[in-house]
Every structure is written in structure tokens, then in C-alpha cells.
């Protein structure tokens, strides 16, 4: 059981745990954290694979760097979307409580 094998298994465990978390939780922030954990799991597996040779495989490292940047930009967008959705929902609820539900479909 070498260190790389251990970390590959741990990476897979985190991936599955995060997937399980994604399916179980309903709160958007927690689901986003789950997605980030999945990303971390995948990157851990990739780096464990890279560490199989003495100077670690530069291609895999480059892939992980690219993956990281994708992760941060997507997370930033997702968080902003979630907060704006929550604020919109919040103002919508208060507005609805104000004057009843505006039925948006067929005119009376």
C-alpha cells in the first residue's frame, strides 16, 4: 500500500462523500461546498497519479492548475447567483405578502 494508492483512495472517498452530500443537502451553499469538495477529490487523485514518477508529471500538474482556476471562477459565479436568487426570492416573498400573488398568466 504506497502513499499514492492511499491518496487515490482518499481522493475517491472525498469525491463520493461530496456526491452523497450534494444529493442529500438542500441548502445551495452546502451544495456548492459539495461541488468544491468533489473538485478537490478529483485533483487529489490527479496529483496522486502525478506523484508516481520521481519528478512528478508536469502535465497533470498543469491540468490541476487549470482545473483550480475553473473551480474558483465557477464557484464565484455560483455564489453570486445563489445570493442574488435568495435576495430576489426574499424581496419577492415580502412583495407577495404585500398584495397577494400576482398571477402572471392568462389575463382575467
Amino acid at each position: 500500500m504506497s502513499a499514492m494508492q492511499l491518496y487515490t483512495i482518499v481522493g475517491a472517498a472525498i469525491f463520493l462523500l461530496a456526491l452523497h452530500g450534494l444529493l442529500m443537502t438542500t441548502d445551495s451553499i452546502r451544495r456548492l461546498i459539495a461541488v468544491n469538495l468533489m473538485g478537490a477529490g478529483t485533483f487529489l487523485i490527479m496529483i496522486a497519479l502525478a506523484a508516481r514518477i520521481s519528478p512528478p508529471d508536469p502535465v497533470l500538474h498543469a491540468l490541476v492548475v487549470t482545473g483550480l482556476v475553473v473551480a474558483i471562477s465557477a464557484t464565484a459565479l455560483a455564489l453570486r447567483l445563489i445570493t442574488s436568487a435568495a435576495i430576489a426570492q426574499h424581496s419577492q416573498d415580502s412583495e407577495n405578502k404585500g398584495d397577494g400573488d400576482l398571477s402572471e398568466d392568462v389575463k382575467p
Binding site: V35, L60, L63, S73, A88
Partner: protein, 478 residues
């Protein structure tokens, strides 16, 4: 290959310039620039296609001049050049609609649609697994940003769409990592020589397929699509349904027809084909039940992707290369028809002031041209001759009907036709109701309606070029 690269980089440059110009340009000028760029890219794609038509063999390009394996490899074959042309053509059509219809779009639609065009072009040309991951991600983010254009009501579906799209990309990335770990190369052409069907490759390919099916909203994993596409602005939902869902499908096709070993592909074939058939029926049924116009059209996307999945599944089961002609004809015919469906639905929704189908009563009198466009595009989805949909269905049916033991699949196609006829004519029949007409809120925007009709006429015009298209696609087996 230079034409293809020009066709790829023109929209990217245009997108960057439009973001750079930012508030200086108002929506109309930005629109005109974007349309000119897509037209330029269309011309370049046409030359690439002509080059492909007479050369009729694949051009490979190792980026950066490094030897194969090290560098990212771009590949231009008749299929990818046709898809380039199709993407550019769709962007010109929808761009013209977005610019000149009264409904109009916000200024940021234009850089985003050029980004979409560029990332799709990069996806069609790429033959490197990780490069496909990045283009997939680019596609996902652009799609989410465009859904968010529709304002507050679209934020929740957009957030949900983004999270699921990220999960799908990570599944795909994990599969790529495992395959790289196993075979040590990311290049599709090299991998197709090396892959064997051992346990690890099987797991990796299954994980990647799950991710791609989630991204392309193929049947079991399609639940996010109706909310996202129905709440997006009109022009955006036309782009999403027509083009964005086709990217992951292309990668799925690449994965299973090239990278995967033959016996693995033959095992997954029937599964995909059956899933396609179920998608046809399930998507159709939920389309029939949905009370809203745009949700109906979104579910019809899920159903029509069932056709493509069935074609892909059967292509893999029997290893018949010419089956992929049917697959790509479906993709093109569905793209054009779906663009008109969404544009017409959006126009009717705006003019009649209702989201519901029951509000479409008397549409043939209040919004005649939009309803005509809806019916014509619906005709192509059903596969009535001489539309593009009919062409694709005809090519799909040929191998199915040649041997008696394949006839059950033909029955599946027949079922799909009837189901799609049911939900299309449900809307058309209501529109002929003259007893309780739903009067329009605003004067119908004549120009917008005619522009919405344009893609549908194109898909019916495909019949004239049908023969040439089939020869071209059949020429490039892969």
C-alpha cells in the same frame, strides 16, 4: 485548416472587443458587430467545408508544432467542418432575430453569444480529452450567464443549472484523469489505438458518460433542462436548445466511437438506444402534459435528443459507420427547428401576454405568422417530408428496416413520431379555436415573427441539399 482556425478565432476576438467596448456601445451597434463577425466566421467555415468536400480526408494539426501526444491536436474532418458551418449559421440567424425583433436583448447578450460561438467552434475542432473538458466548461458558463440575462426570475434555475453543470464537468474530468493515469496520453487519436476493455477503462468511460449525459440533458439526467431553458430569454433559449446541448453529445459520440474499444462500445450501444427510445416517449409525454408553451418546447428538446441517442446507440451496437449520418442530420435539423420553435413561442408569449398554452386560442388569427412558424418547425420535429427531420429519420430507418430482427427499433421511431405529432398538434389545434380568441396585448411585431420563421424555412430547405449533405457526412466515416 487555416479557414477553420479563422472561423474559430473571429468570434472570440469579437467577444473580447465587445467586452472591451462595454457600455460605450449600445445594444443595437453591438448586435451589428456581432452579426458581422458571425457572418465572417460563416464564410470561413464555408471555405473550410469546401476544402473538406474536395479533399475528403481528415486534417490533423498539432498545436504549437510539438510532436503528437505532447501537443493538443485539432482535427478538421467533414463532420467538424459541417458543425462549424452549422454553429455559425445558427448564430447569424438568431443574431439577426435578436437584433431586429422588437423584444430585443440586453447589451451583454452579444459578447456572450460570440463567446458561445467561439467555445463551440473550439469544441468541434478539438481532439484532446482535456481540451474538450475546458471547452465543455466554457460552454456551461456561457450558457449559465445567458440564462441569467433574463433577470431575477431566472437566477434560481441558472444557479441550479450551474451546480449540475459543474458536477457533470467534474465527473468528466475524473474520467479523463483515470484514462490519462491508465494510458498516459490525452489525445483521442492515440488513445483509440491503445485502449483495451479492462475494469479501469470501463469505470472511467462510464463516469465520463454519466457526466456528459447530465450536461447534454439526455433522458435520465434531464430534469434541469426545462426550468433553465423555459426561463431564459427567447433568443437565448433558442441558442441553448439548438446548440449548447449538442456539444456534450459530440464528445459522447467521439468518446464511444473512437476512444472506447469496440467491444465496450457494443455493450453500451443497446443501453444508449433503449434510453433514447424512453427519452422519446417520456419527453413527449411530459411535453403533452405541460401547461406552459416554453416548457413544452424544452421537453420536446429532451424528446428529440432521444432520437440522437438512439442513433448513437445503434451506431455503436452494429458498428455501422454510416449511421452517424443520421445522428448528425438529427442534430442539425433539430437545431434549426428548435430555434424557430423557441423564437415563435417567445414571440407569441410576448404578444399574447401569456405563458400558458390555453392562452394561445385563436393564435392563427392574432399572431398568424408566429403560429405558422411554430407549425412548420413542429412539422420538421415530427419528420414530415420534405423537412430536415424527415431526412434524418429516413436515413436512420434504412438500416433498421433492412433486417427483420431490427424492426422493433423501427417501431420505436414510429412511436417517437406519433408522440411528437401529439404534442405539436396539441398547440396547433388550440390555435385554430375561433370561439374564445385570446386577443393580443400589443401589436404583433411583424418583423420579429418573420425572422422567427427563417430557421424553419431553412430546415425545410434542407431537403434540397439533403443528398449532398448525406454524401458529405457519409464520406467522413469519422
Amino acid at each position: 485548416m487555416t479557414y477553420a482556425l479563422v472561423s474559430l478565432s473571429v468570434p472570440l476576438f469579437c467577444a473580447l472587443l465587445l467586452t472591451l467596448a462595454g457600455p460605450k456601445l449600445d445594444s443595437r451597434h453591438a448586435g451589428q458587430i456581432a452579426i458581422v463577425c458571425s457572418a465572417l466566421s460563416l464564410v470561413a467555415a464555408w471555405f473550410a467545408l469546401m476544402q473538406m468536400a474536395e479533399l475528403n480526408q481528415t486534417i490533423l494539426l498539432e498545436l504549437g508544432g510539438w510532436e503528437s501526444g505532447l501537443a493538443i491536436r485539432l482535427r478538421l474532418n467533414p463532420l467538424s467542418s459541417l458543425l462549424l458551418l452549422f454553429t455559425a449559421f445558427m448564430h447569424v440567424l438568431i443574431g439577426v432575430y435578436a437584433a431586429f425583433s422588437r423584444q430585443g436583448v440586453s447589451r451583454d447578450f452579444w459578447p456572450l453569444s460570440s463567446f458561445l460561438h467561439g467555445s463551440l467552434a473550439a469544441l468541434w475542432l478539438s481532439a484532446d480529452l482535456f481540451n474538450l473538458y475546458i471547452t465543455l466548461e466554457l460552454l456551461g458558463l456561457t450558457a449559465v450567464a445567458m440564462v441569467a440575462l433574463a433577470g431575477k426570475k431566472a437566477y434560481k434555475p441558472a444557479a441550479n443549472y450551474l451546480i449540475l453543470s459543474l458536477v457533470a464537468s467534474l465527473f468528466y474530468l475524473l474520467g479523463v484523469a483515470l484514462i490519462y493515469g491508465r494510458y498516459g496520453s490525452l489525445d483521442v487519436v492515440l488513445l483509440s489505438l491503445q485502449t483495451q476493455s479492462d475494469l479501469l477503462t470501463r469505470i472511467a468511460l462510464l463516469i465520463m458518460t454519466a457526466g456528459l449525459m447530465l450536461k447534454a440533458a439526455l433522458w435520465p439526467l434531464h430534469l434541469w433542462l426545462p426550468a433553465a431553458h423555459a426561463n431564459a430569454p427567447t433568443a437565448v433559449s433558442a441558442l441553448l436548445s439548438g446548440l449548447v446541448v449538442k456539444g456534450p453529445l459530440f464528445i459522447l459520440f467521439l468518446l464511444w466511437s473512437e476512444v472506447a474499444p469496440v467491444d465496450l462500445a457494443q455493450q453500451i450501444g443497446p443501453v444508449l438506444a433503449i434510453a433514447g427510445m424512453i427519452a422519446l416517449v417520456a419527453g413527449g409525454l411530459s411535453a403533452m402534459r405541460s401547461p406552459y408553451i416554453k416548457t413544452l418546447v424544452a421537453y420536446s428538446t429532451v424528446a428529440q435528443l432521444g432520437y440522437a441517442m438512439m442513433a448513437l446507440g445503434l451506431l455503436l451496437t452494429w458498428q455501422l459507420p454510416q449511421m452517424h449520418v443520421a445522428l448528425w442530420l438529427f442534430v442539425i435539423a433539430h437545431g434549426l427547428a428548435k430555434a424557430t420553435l423557441f423564437l415563435a413561442a417567445g414571440e407569441m408569449q410576448a404578444t399574447l401576454g401569456t405563458k400558458r398554452i390555453s392562452g394561445l386560442r385563436g393564435a392563427t388569427q392574432t399572431v398568424p405568422v408566429a403560429m405558422f412558424a411554430f407549425a412548420v418547425a413542429g412539422g420538421s420535429l415530427i419528420g414530415l417530408p420534405p423537412s430536415g427531420g424527415f431526412l434524418a429519420k429516413w436515413v436512420l430507418l434504412q438500416p433498421l428496416l433492412s433486417e427483420p430482427q431490427n424492426w422493433p427499433w423501427a417501431f420505436g421511431v414510429l412511436l417517437g413520431t406519433l408522440v411528437s405529432a401529439a404534442y405539436i398538434f396539441r398547440v396547433v389545434a388550440i390555435s385554430f379555436d375561433r370561439a374564445r380568441i385570446n386577443p393580443p396585448d400589443i401589436r404583433p411585431d411583424r418583423v420579429g415573427h418573420w425572422l422567427a420563421l427563417l430557421p424553419a424555412l431553412m430546415v425545410w430547405g434542407m431537403a434540397l441539399t439533403g443528398d449532398w449533405l448525406i454524401q458529405l457526412l457519409a464520406g467522413s466515416s469519422v
